[in-house]
Symmetry: C2
């Protein structure tokens, strides 16, 4: 069966055609989301993107068995309504019904981070794991949970907000309204804030060579300065990795999943990131005496995870 | 069917006979665990306690369909072995096999906090909830998770250690080896430490009237002083409740369970505790815009939860 998956993001509407038999994406395409604009326009572009992805694979709507959508925010799976998605400015958008009208296909909906976790479990780094937790370290820190091969999203579909576990009581303000969330310490946004603070405290640091102004700081600045031998850059990186580890160990102690999968641009740092993370986890996990231990792995599908996970929703929710 | 449940604790071996048909405990009895002593002796006492509970209900082993045990630590459900239980000094104890030999009954094993959560879901404050998280605020902070009516214990049976979520990076030392665990701020042990620290800082506080020496401090001292009008006692209580709330909101953001059930001696404070907890949760939960919300409730079975949950394991693991 051929299935369409759409990963609806704040920047891009990414669509692809998935083939159940070969376990591969046959085509991919993308349109700009161009926020802010009305939900109706976005949904029309989603339907058009689905058509284009089909055409790119030499197919038509008659060849597709289903359309799946990964959408930010709280997606009510009973009603097919996106109840709230802050960055899209969606409130009570009947996404499933409208896309069914526009495409004539059965439509399946899920939160985007949950869909991406499903994608990694079906075709990526967590393949075959029945219990798995996926963490995306990006602008924010997102989570997706699979238990017994099924997405876990809670009583009201708003669960798995693992970035919004407080790790520092009364700490940094988080966009969610709490203080001290893991996201406020372990996201790329947090790393940039931490790098800037170190630069202001250390006018002599090599960090200023990698980023001549505070505006030029990005998620690689501290890592690059560290590799060039800068002590302040190393301090920033060490502390940032420690914050990531703190939250990952929390996740291990809560779920003891078979696979803990991390993704996001920071993972391009490879062993510079992974070696200390593994060490912290081994030192601190509650399950020190257990024969079986969680396997830490890096997401392998990149942006495709969300498309693939959305495409296969029909098989997992149905 | 009649089933025996045993809640094995560091202080007591509590046994009872559960009746599936009436949904009630027919009898209860208890022996002292008398630690430290060999696992074999403890298991013989468990078998004897099971016999006595049957006799107290006017039954014999022939009337019982199963024996369930809730045991602290990591219980491997595949092998029936208690891999590690710190307070019992158990390491690799083949509890299921030995108790089957001693009683002739099919034996079911589970971590004690998980069994207690199941008890509350079957017969207590979480009755009927398919997704529920139970938190016990005692000497430590324990957690039990039910998803789809089943106990969730992770890939290696060591999951649901919700007390060992760090809420203060680099904070107070925890018995688990980490720093800043929720347990180190929200347990009764933590409240006693916080009360003592406040007394040392405030020699003029009414706290000293309720506890003339630091050794006399218990989990009620600060609450009692607050009710008598003491400002320092109120500060201690306010901060302690804030720590409890921090971890509960984490649990809501992670699981969005239908029911969040809290137990432990502190819950006798009633609305003094619950009203601020509800307020914090409503203010801070990620799911502010969801129609359905987690219901906060107080465990209703007390120590019976562990016995009942153990007794019904046969129905839930089988």
């Amino acid at each position: 069966m051929k299935r369409i998956g759409i990963d609806l993001g704040g920047t891009n509407i990414a669509a692809g055609v998935w083939d159940d038999d070969s376990g591969r994406l046959l085509s991919k395409m993308s349109r700009k989301t161009r926020l802010p604009r009305p939900a109706e326009e976005i949904m029309q572009d989603m339907a058009a993107a689905a058509q284009e992805a089909l055409a790119a694979a030499g197919l038509t709507a008659a060849d597709a068995a289903s359309l799946g959508v990964g959408c930010p925010g709280t997606c009510n799976l009973d009603t097919g309504v996106v109840e709230y998605a802050n960055n899209l400015q969606f409130k009570q958008v009947p996404l499933r019904q409208r896309l069914q009208e526009l495409t004539g296909l059965p439509v399946f909906l899920e939160n985007d981070a949950n869909a991406a976790a499903l994608g990694e479990a079906v075709a990526g780094a967590a393949r075959g794991a029945e219990n798995c937790v996926c963490i995306t370290l990006g602008t924010g820190v997102g989570g997706g949970i699979l238990i017994g091969g099924k997405i876990y999203n809670g009583y009201n579909f708003a669960g798995a907000e693992l970035g919004h576990i407080v790790i520092v009581v009364d700490g940094e303000a988080c966009t969610c309204g709490r203080r001290g969330c893991w996201e406020a310490y372990a996201s790329a946004t947090a790393l940039i804030r931490q790098t800037r603070a170190a630069m202001q405290q250390h006018p002599d640091s090599l960090l200023w060579q990698w980023a001549p102004t505070l505006d030029a700081v990005n998620g690689r600045t501290a890592f690059d300065a560290m590799r060039a031998g800068d002590a302040v850059g190393k301090q920033v990186v060490d502390r940032y990795i420690y914050y990531i580890a703190c939250g990952l160990i929390n996740v291990v102690n809560i779920f003891q999943p078979e696979v803990l999968c991390i993704g996001g641009g920071i993972c391009h740092e490879g062993e510079t990131l992974l070696a200390p993370l593994r060490r912290y986890i081994e030192q601190e996990r509650y399950s020190k005496y257990s024969a079986r231990q969680t396997r830490l792995t890096v997401a392998s599908l990149g942006n495709d995870a969300g498309i693939i996970g959305a495409a296969v929703l029909a098989l997992h929710q149905g």
